[in-house]
Symmetry: C2
Subunit: 331 residues, 2 copies
């Protein structure tokens, strides 16, 4: 009815009013269209993958290779042994040695004099001897994948090549060789341990809820993520000089909402501790080491106001290796 009345108005006036009305309507519709466009799916940030997608096409080596990060303290003889081994691992892009021997010269000169080497090795001199130094977001990192190794751990090339291929299928997880778990107790206090602790009660067999980063592959984006964590987390790691790996598992579990790790059963993994001339026995020999780790689990639950770790019982091995018929059954 109103339109009819509008028509009776003088032409110019009605024209201008209609013009305004239509302009308003058009603007509103354009805003709606704009809002809908904003809701269209956006290209997800590749930095922290959250599904089992194929990685985006970037420089071939950035996706198909990994960076070894090895922190070292007071075991330079082991370091050099291990460097000779790891420098030749397939798909290795670069080695970053985190040099925690404060004030001491790196073996860079010696390293260069014994060149050429298959891959570049970068010595990152630290100013303070901190456990979490290895979790910096190093600018030298060019690959999506990081292989983190303790400076006393030797894993065979076969195991590493296989585990890397597994990581490529589970890029959002920590894919490694050392599983651990936490246990809930009726008091609500958590405890940390391995298979000697009772099964958390999920049926047959055992479960793990963490994969330690001292022998594991994970996405380099998690280093940046770690730097963003609450100060209390960094303080905890500094206070204990321990637990950086537990913190990383909390971080990954929170990010994915799934079990943080995927356990790959190693065929050949060795601890070279006893082979060192330095006499330095390694942190895990300290009497309080395991108690500290239980302490860390509870502190982190406090900091994050919840327990994000999830259990898994998936154990991955390589089909037909080393035993060509290792999948055979007596059927």
């Amino acid at each position: 009815m109103r339109w009819f009345h509008l028509c009776k108005l003088p032409g110019r006036v009605m024209g201008i009013r209609l013009l305004r009305l239509t302009s308003v309507v058009i603007i509103v519709l354009l805003l709606v269209a704009g809002a809908l466009t904003a809701l269209l799916p956006t290209i997800k940030d590749d930095k922290l993958p959250n599904s089992r997608r194929e990685p985006k096409t970037q420089t071939q080596s950035a996706l198909d290779s990994f960076t070894l990060i090895m922190q070292t303290y007071n075991r330079t003889d082991l370091l050099l042994k291990l460097l000779n081994h790891y420098q030749a691992i397939p798909h290795l892009h670069k080695v970053i040695v985190v040099w925690n021997n404060i004030g001491e010269k790196t073996p860079e000169e010696m390293w260069n004099s014994l060149g050429p080497h298959p891959v570049p090795v970068v010595f990152k001199v630290q100013t303070v001897n901190r456990m979490r130094n290895r979790l910096q977001n190093f600018p030298d990192l060019e690959t999506k994948a990081v292989l983190m190794m303790d400076d006393d751990t030797l894993v065979s090339a076969h195991d590493l090549a296989f585990a890397f291929s597994v990581w490529q299928q589970f890029p959002e997880h920590i894919v490694g060789f050392v599983p651990r778990k936490h246990i809930s107790t009726p008091s609500g206090v958590y405890s940390y341990g391995s298979f000697e602790l009772q099964n958390p009660g999920f049926g047959n067999g055992d479960q793990y809820s963490m994969v330690l980063i001292g022998a594991a592959f994970f996405h380099s984006g998690y280093l940046e993520d770690f730097q963003q964590q609450p100060e209390a987390v960094h303080a905890l790691i500094d206070e204990t000089q321990n637990c950086d790996d537990i913190a990383m598992n909390f971080l990954v579990a929170r990010h994915t909402g799934k079990p943080s790790g995927v356990f790959v059963k190693p065929v050949d993994i060795r601890n070279l501790e006893k082979d060192t001339n330095s006499g330095y026995p390694g942190m895990w020999h300290r009497a309080e080491h395991l108690l500290q780790r239980s302490y860390c689990v509870n502190k982190l639950v406090n900091i994050y106001d919840g327990m994000p770790l999830k259990y898994s019982n998936i154990m991955i091995s390589q089909f037909g290796f080393p035993n060509y018929a290792n999948h055979k059954n007596k059927m």
Copy 2:
């Protein structure tokens, strides 16, 4: 400028023209908005999952349980033995027995007389003895997961419970206990086999490109998918009375673009063939059985104009079962 001229027209005429114009503009904008709305991410069809998402919330049992489909021919004694075993598997929702004994009465009466039973068992009487009868999209199916078993295969409850939990993490794959592979040859002709065939050349160890459906979990949506396949595929299976499992692996590989299967190493899997009184030895004893399967691989590549199967070397076992420390290493 045009607007100015429009203003000079008699009020009513200009009003109506502007009205028409604005109506057209508004309609166009609404159409654009509608198109944008249509581009918004839609809730994906749950029927054929294509990522490692958590399943949608539906009836609890539909997601947390599976349906056993067991086709049987001339081995009713084994069938009944197996039914007593499988009827008590955790998370089993229902059993569908595909009765290929044409013209013969099912053991339903006897079955009912020996009730009650833990789960319903449905006997689907067939009119023609076809290998692919078991791949019908049975209306009795209420679960997302199917467990398909040959009528001479006994898999332990532990293995099945674990493999089901693995399937829930890989719902788009065939998760099962029997891996096989295809090999390319320089002539371009494919061959079918197991570990006795040479590794396809991917480095260490062996690879598999199929998981047989005679002892495997897969998504029930693939049954509908199978019915949609080209007539030539159905004809091939009917011609050979074989290869339905190879066809399913082709189907799944084409659907996912990934290796079709995930191999779970069984702890206790047994073939009960020799225990049958029927004297019926099973199809795979026929002299031409393996040659037929190589034939099928090449035929399917022809039909689909390409080889969709992909290799995997992932072997999954249960952490800490049956040996509580089966993940231990000598580190």
